[in-house]
Symmetry: C2
Subunit: 252 residues, 2 copies
């Protein structure tokens, strides 16, 4: 009888250990191999009892194939994904590989806290209700699709969470995105959350026109574009859910 391998794709949240789910911790502790990019491995390294395999940035396909091979060979493998594997994480790549190749692999996606869920409260309550989530990275998605989504989200007056807003190679995308925001909303305020729950955490509110030039924004930053209903005051961004239209919100 062959040994039973299993592949876990483990969302580890924004970085601090307390944001791990109980399931994620358990799975990391009990895996034979834990595979991931160094940035994410560093957050969970102390929990791992098995072997650690570090893999470079941009090598997602290679990393996932290695994890699939090890699990198919009978090992229990955790593939580490920052935030939540379903939100710009490794869930889709694993599902795609398993589906396209008709693999009989036992795998499980372990959800994690995504950046918007940990960043929104730092402003008070920036998200609260309906929202759109858009990545500015055009490595895998054509820029015209990204731009069209941004426009539709602005037309729909969604709160917008922007992932992967900038990297050294494509700072132009951020500048272009902010121009589009200004086209619809004027030079509105934007929430900037960097390194949430990690060393160097910064939470700022600045004008859309200042975002690209600020030098703050990188791949570890989440931007939040408020809706026209959001209250912005200093570092507060609160998007009310409509309770104040129906109830007294005074406290004695």
């Amino acid at each position: 009888m062959p040994s039973q391998g299993k592949l876990y794709v483990v969302g580890i949240g924004p970085g601090c250990e307390e944001m791990l789910t109980l399931r994620a911790r358990k799975v990391l502790e009990s895996s034979d191999y834990v595979i991931g990019h160094r940035t994410y491995l560093n957050f969970v390294r102390h929990l791992v009892r098995g072997s650690i395999v570090e893999s470079g940035m941009g090598r997602e396909v290679e990393r996932v194939k290695m994890a699939v091979e090890l699990a198919s060979g009978g090992h229990v493998v955790s593939l580490v994904s920052g935030g939540d594997p379903s939100v710009y994480g490794l869930a889709s790549l694993v599902a795609e590989l398993v589906y396209r190749n008709g693999l009989e692999l036992d795998y499980e996606i372990v959800p994690g806290i995504s950046a918007l869920n940990s960043a929104s409260p730092l402003f008070g309550s920036a998200i609260s209700g309906d929202h759109a989530v858009i990545s500015l990275s055009d490595l895998l998605t054509p820029w015209q699709v990204i731009e069209r989504r941004l426009r539709k989200a602005l037309e729909g007056d969604f709160v917008i969470a922007i992932y992967n807003p900038s990297s050294r190679r494509r700072a132009g995308n951020l500048r272009r995105a902010m121009e589009i925001v200004i086209e619809y909303r004027g030079d509105c305020f934007v929430g900037v959350a960097k390194n949430v729950c990690r060393e160097g955490e910064q939470v700022l509110v600045m004008r859309a026109s200042e975002v690209a030039e600020s030098g703050v924004v990188d791949m570890h930053t989440l931007l939040i574009i408020p809706s026209t209903e959001s209250i912005v005051d200093g570092n507060w961004i609160i998007t009310p859910r409509g309770y104040s239209r129906k109830y007294e919100l005074e406290v004695e």
Copy 2:
């Protein structure tokens, strides 16, 4: 010196204990009072050492005011929110009360796993990338705003996660929403995830035209409208992130 109270707004995820974060568990265990609706309290009751205060459905404002009062009086209080408090949860109401009343209250939002993060993997990888999140409940948001957002999300070809799709009093909203989906996408497939991670979990894929009449959809159901790029096959919904355009996804 007055004693120091604190209010935690605790996201408990979809329901099963393993989806709690380490922080959520710690906070629930160490609170003097744990306040919430019975449905959510039942998932965490066994962890609570302090007093439990049950509060009825639809009494969010009353519940939040009580929590604020107890915390202001020097107690450590956990206010329980299903899923993530920032996504149709209690974060906004607490932030709004604190902000509007200028309270000097020490409070913290503890993020949780929201329904879309736990439901997406059950189809393979339904969400993966850019997505829009919309609630069909018109209790706090006018229906015309909801309908406009749904149309813009469809025009932007987002994957769409629909929260609060139906309740006994407003089944018409679901029927109307599916008509709008069909207007843009034809009678496409829709992911239906009910009671995720709880007793009675059901994961189905059905035609948009069947959703309202199926009798399956209630307030504990999340709907996922795939994008035009999503692969739908049986109970699989996979939204590729574009790797297949750039890499070989064959496994030996």
